[in-house]
Each structure stands twice: as structure tokens, then as C-alpha cells.
């Protein structure tokens, strides 16, 4: 246990050494040549006036003449940074930069951290809407719930570029991919499995929605929150109708068996447990896992410590265990989702990212792992299997075209090659900067 703790604290020590050394994780780099100062007359005034005028006539040309189609704004109000809570926009900035790094390295996307000095939902909506002309997409990051649901819903309705909240759609996409393969591996049917979701936060509500879209009957889901298993007649359901209508919807349509009680009652006889609740260990007890159905599947995704240690879940009878950690097998890792999904959405200039597009990405993600051969310890690709990103990009883009939410049409091959190339450039550029010493080696 001590070694695990040491292992977990190691990145924290390095982070405090490296952050002040590099003073940030991203920077702006040029995309066009500067052969001499004469080129400035092309890239800036007077030459630049021509593309300006062309865009004025046809506003969609902005995607042809600028970098807009490759940009994402990472927006936070600092109210729910990691598991640290409301620590303020400045304190959230390192996370936003980290996210921008992942966007670039894994998806070839230029993402800009934008930490706002307001927590007012209406103001956030107004500000983000006003950013629309500059960006190809919006990534809402670490905003507290239920505000995050409301902001996402409003912005998705009112903006003509994709708006994404990774804690909802991103986590849901990757989790559903893991779910698909895990259920397949144990040989159960999607229409039969009972799925207990522990925690009814942003992630699990979105996971429930995506599972239903995938074909799990809503009545087979059981959501457990701090007050116990959710069901239509629970005392507080009336209140949810106006305080958290997303959870209210789930209260009404899930749990057809009317299971009441807490986590143990919710897990009894269930085939799958998806825990996105609070750090363990001990949030889920071994005997509760034992009381699940045979060949049970347990995703214990709280960070930094899962709700139950993977070996405990295994000892208790779980066939497949996944966590949020990279040092255990089957990491449910958001970074497997958003870079590829945004890549695909941006490359066909999608207006939005729908649940269908997320589901397409989840299915493709599952397929990549399946092609490599599923095992108890391999139900999801890892970030090293990086062909996963162009492949996700491709299915997302194709789905966007099919749904009529893409501004431009491309063939499957075109999308794949473009995505592959852009992601490879981002990786190669980083390598080159490191080789040339522009990104110096870290301090000892």
C-alpha cells in the first residue's frame, strides 16, 4: 500500500518542480512561413483585407481562411476543479492548460484556456456565446452541477458550434465503450443486464442517457445517490423536478423493479456497477460485490482512490474491474474520447456534437480494443493505441454528415487521412521542439 501511495504522490512532486520551470504547457506557434518582413504585408495589412472582405460576403469562409476550424475554447468558472471543488478561476488554469496540452498532442487541436471571473450561469452563457466567432468548438471544463447541465443545454441550443462538457459526454463516451466490451466479454446481452450507477452526478447522468441510447432498457438502470437508490416515488423526487430536472427524468424512468435502499440494495443482483462517486476505498464493500450477479462487472472510477480496490472487487467475485487510474488495468480515461471526437467534429465543421456522435465514438473505441483482443484486463484501448483518435474522428465526422449537422461533406478516407495527418504533425512537432532544445529537458 505504501508503494502505491508513493507511486501516486510521485507526479505531484514532479508537477511542483516542472510547472515553475516551464511556466506553462502551451504556446502559440506559427502555421505559415515568414520568409522576410515582406510577408507581413500578406499575413497582415494590407493583404489581409482581401480574405476579410471575402469572409464578409460568405461568413463560412472564415473556416477556410483562418485557424478557426482547428480551435477550441476551454472554458471554466473554477467551481469544480478536479476533486478540489470551488478553488477559483486562477487556480483552475493549470488544469485548463493541461487539457489544452491533451487537445494538441492527442487531437492536433489548438485549444485556449479561458478561466472566467464569474460563477453566474447567465453571464457564463452570454460570454461563451459571444466567443463563437473565434472558435470551432467549446469545451466546458470543471463547472459545478447542476449549473453545468443548464449551461450545456442552453449553449447547445443557442450556438452553431459544438459545445462539450467532458465530465458529461466525454466520461460517458469512454465508459460506455468499456461497458460494451465488458458485457460482450462476459457474454451477456445488452437488453438483459441490470446496471447500477453509483453517484448521480454529471458523469453518471450522461452515462445513463448514453446507455439508454445504446439499448439498455431504462428500467434496468438503478441510480444511487447520497440519499439511496433513486425511484419515482422517493420523497425528494418532487423537488428534483425543478432543482435538477436531469436527475428527475432518470428517477422517473429508471429502476423498474422499484429497488429501495442504499448501495448494497442497489447492487444486489446487478450485472454491472458503474461507480462515479467519492474516493474510496470502502465506499463499496466486498460483500456488496459478492451479492451482484455472476460474472459481474465493476467500474470504480473515483479519483484518486477508487470506491473499492480492484483486487478486492476481484476477490469478491467481479469478473472485470475498471478504474480511473493509469496504474491499474482498464483505465476509463477521458483522454481516449474528446481529442478524437473533437477532431472529427471540427474536420467537418459540425454545428454540434450529438449523443449519437458520442455513441458512434464509443462503439468505435470499443471496436479498436476488440480488434486487438479483449481480455479481463483489456476492455479499452490505451492512449498508446493512438490510431484510436483518427478512427474516432472518422466515425464522429461520418455520423455528423449523416445527421445533417456538418457544414461540409467528406469521404470516410478523407476524414481519416486528414485526422491522422493533423494528429501526427502535433506529435512530431513536439518531438522536434524537444530534439532542438526549444522544449528543454526537465530539471533534475
Amino acid at each position: 500500500m505504501t508503494s502505491l501511495e508513493e507511486k501516486a504522490s510521485h507526479p505531484s512532486t514532479l508537477a511542483m518542480k516542472y510547472h515553475p520551470f516551464y511556466k506553462g504547457k502551451i504556446q502559440i506557434a506559427l502555421k505559415c512561413p515568414v520568409r522576410s518582413y515582406d510577408d507581413f504585408a500578406i499575413w497582415y495589412t494590407p493583404g489581409v483585407a482581401e480574405p476579410c472582405k471575402a469572409i464578409q460576403k460568405n461568413v463560412d469562409l472564415v473556416f477556410e481562411y483562418t485557424n478557426r476550424a482547428n480551435t477550441v475554447a476551454i472554458v471554466t468558472d473554477g467551481t469544480r476543479i478536479l476533486g478540489l471543488g470551488d478553488i477559483g478561476p486562477e487556480a483552475g488554469l493549470p488544469v485548463m492548460e493541461g487539457k489544452a496540452l491533451l487537445f494538441k498532442y492527442l487531437g492536433g487541436i489548438d485549444a485556449f484556456p479561458i478561466a472566467l471571473a464569474t460563477k453566474d450561469a447567465e453571464k457564463i452563457i452570454e460570454i461563451v456565446k459571444a466567443l463563437e466567432p473565434s472558435f470551432g468548438g467549446i469545451n466546458l471544463e470543471d463547472i459545478e452541477k447542476p449549473k453545468c447541465f443548464y449551461i450545456l443545454e442552453r449553449l447547445r441550443q443557442e450556438m452553431r458550434i459544438p459545445v462539450w462538457h467532458d465530465d458529461q459526454q466525454g466520461t460517458a463516451t469512454v465508459t460506455v465503450a468499456a461497458f460494451i466490451n465488458a458485457v460482450k466479454f462476459v457474454g451477456k446481452r445488452i437488453s438483459d443486464v441490470i446496471v447500477t450507477l453509483i453517484g448521480a452526478g454529471a458523469a453518471n447522468i450522461a452515462i445513463a442517457r448514453l446507455l439508454i441510447a445504446y439499448g439498455v432498457p431504462a428500467g434496468n438502470l438503478r441510480l444511487v445517490d447520497s440519499k439511496g437508490v433513486l425511484h419515482a416515488e422517493r420523497e425528494d423526487v418532487d423537488k428534483l423536478q425543478f432543482q435538477d430536472k436531469w436527475k428527475y427524468e432518470m428517477a422517473i424512468k429508471t429502476n423498474k423493479d422499484r429497488v429501495v435502499g442504499g448501495i448494497p440494495e442497489g447492487l444486489k443482483g446487478a450485472d454491472v456497477c458503474i461507480a462515479m462517486s467519492r474516493p474510496g476505498p470502502g465506499v463499496i464493500k466486498k460483500e456488496w460485490i459478492t451479492a451482484m450477479a455472476d460474472d459481474s462487472i465493476v467500474f470504480a472510477c473515483a479519483n484518486p482512490i477508487p470506491e473499492i480496490w480492484p483486487w478486492e472487487a476481484k476477490e469478491a467475485g467481479a469478473k472485470i474491474v475498471a478504474t480511473g487510474r493509469s496504474d491499474f488495468p482498464n483505465q476509463v480515461n477521458n483522454s481516449l474520447g474528446f481529442p478524437g471526437i473533437f477532431r472529427g467534429a471540427l474536420d467537418v465543421r459540425a454545428y454540434t456534437i450529438t449523443d449519437e456522435m458520442c455513441l458512434a465514438a464509443a462503439i468505435e473505441l470499443a471496436r479498436v480494443a476488440e480488434e486487438k483482443g479483449l481480455s479481463e484486463e483489456y476492455i479499452l484501448p490505451t492512449m498508446e493505441d493512438w490510431e484510436v483518435y483518427p478512427r474516432e474522428a472518422t466515425v464522429v465526422a461520418m455520423k455528423a454528415i449523416e445527421l445533417g449537422v456538418a457544414r461540409i461533406k467528406k469521404s470516410r478516407d478523407e476524414v481519416y487521412e486528414e485526422a491522422y495527418r493533423k494528429i501526427k504533425i502535433a506529435r512530431d512537432q513536439t518531438k522536434l521542439l524537444m530534439e532542438k532544445g526549444f522544449i528543454p529537458p526537465p530539471p533534475e
Binding site: 419515482a232 416515488e233 420523497e235 423526487v237 418532487d238 423537488k239 423536478q241 425543478f242 432543482q243 428527475y248 428517477a251 422517473i252 424512468k253
Partner: protein, 160 residues
């Protein structure tokens, strides 16, 4: 999800008392969520029961329930009020209306209103509904059905 087609709407009977009491308590607890001046008493169950029992035998009250497979899933209660100063004179005042969450958005609330109007139409000149000013759900519901505000009930606390 509750199937609305299996729901029967009918006059309340004495044996429905407990089911009605349960829904009335849920309604009052919902009111509490909107306004602390509607904080429910610890012994609300006793009073709710007496209230329902006396309404069931009163000529001045009408209670209609929605029943599904032996279970009360919705209730409406209206009282006959004589408006001694005004015309029109006889008012049917809806004081309780509650539908369990899973049976909402099926038009059941509206049907309960229609049924009670039908039952009262020979006895009253107008129908009103009474609910806490801050209960947004009720406000939206009655506005949608074409009701409008007629009487205001203001408060100031004199003792904390």
C-alpha cells in the same frame, strides 16, 4: 413509466383515505421546498388524515382520485365557497391537486381539473385554485390551463 391508459378517475371513497393522505402530505412537503413559511409540522400525518376524513363526508368538499391498479396516483380536492360580497357568487376552490411524478406530463392533472369542473358545474359559478405564490410548478400548470390570478395573499413575519 406509468401507463396512463390504465388509470381510472373516480370519486374518492372512504377506503382511499390513506392513499389520499399520502399524496396530500407529498404536496405539502413540495410547498415547503418553495417557501419556508410552508414548513410542514412533525405531526402532519395526523392532521392530514383528519382533514381528508372530514372532507370525505362533507357536502362542501369534492375529492376525485386517479387510481391505477388499486393505487392512488393522483388526487384533486375542491371546496365550495360562498362569495358573500361578490358576483358571481359560488366558487369551487381547488385546494389540493397532486399527481405522482411518474404519472405527470401525461395530461393527468388536466384531466383531474376537467373532471372536477364537470362534477361541480351545476353547483358553482367559477373555479379557482389556491397554492403558494412561490410554487412555480403550480404557477406554470394553471397558467397553461388558462387560469389567472384573482386574489393575492401577502405576508410579513411578526415573530421569528
Amino acid at each position: 413509466m406509468g401507463g396512463i391508459q390504465e388509470i381510472e378517475i373516480r370519486d374518492a371513497k372512504p377506503e382511499d383515505t390513506n392513499g389520499i393522505v399520502e399524496l396530500v402530505i407529498r404536496l405539502k412537503r413540495l410547498n415547503e421546498e418553495f417557501d419556508p413559511l410552508f414548513k410542514t409540522r412533525d405531526d402532519i400525518a395526523i392532521h392530514a388524515k383528519k382533514y381528508v376524513e372530514s372532507a370525505l363526508v362533507s357536502d362542501e368538499s369534492v375529492i376525485v382520485v386517479a387510481e391505477r391498479k388499486g393505487k392512488i396516483v393522483g388526487v384533486i380536492k375542491a371546496d365550495i365557497v360562498d362569495r358573500i360580497f361578490y358576483e358571481p357568487r359560488i366558487e369551487g376552490r381547488i385546494r389540493e391537486l397532486y399527481v405522482l411524478p411518474e404519472f405527470r406530463r401525461n395530461g393527468l392533472g388536466k384531466r383531474l381539473i376537467e373532471v372536477i369542473i364537470e362534477k361541480l358545474k351545476n353547483r358553482v359559478d367559477m373555479i379557482t385554485a389556491e397554492f403558494p405564490t412561490l410554487n412555480e410548478i403550480a404557477i406554470r400548470f394553471y397558467n397553461r390551463l388558462g387560469f389567472r390570478g384573482i386574489m393575492s395573499n401577502y405576508t410579513i413575519e411578526v415573530r421569528k
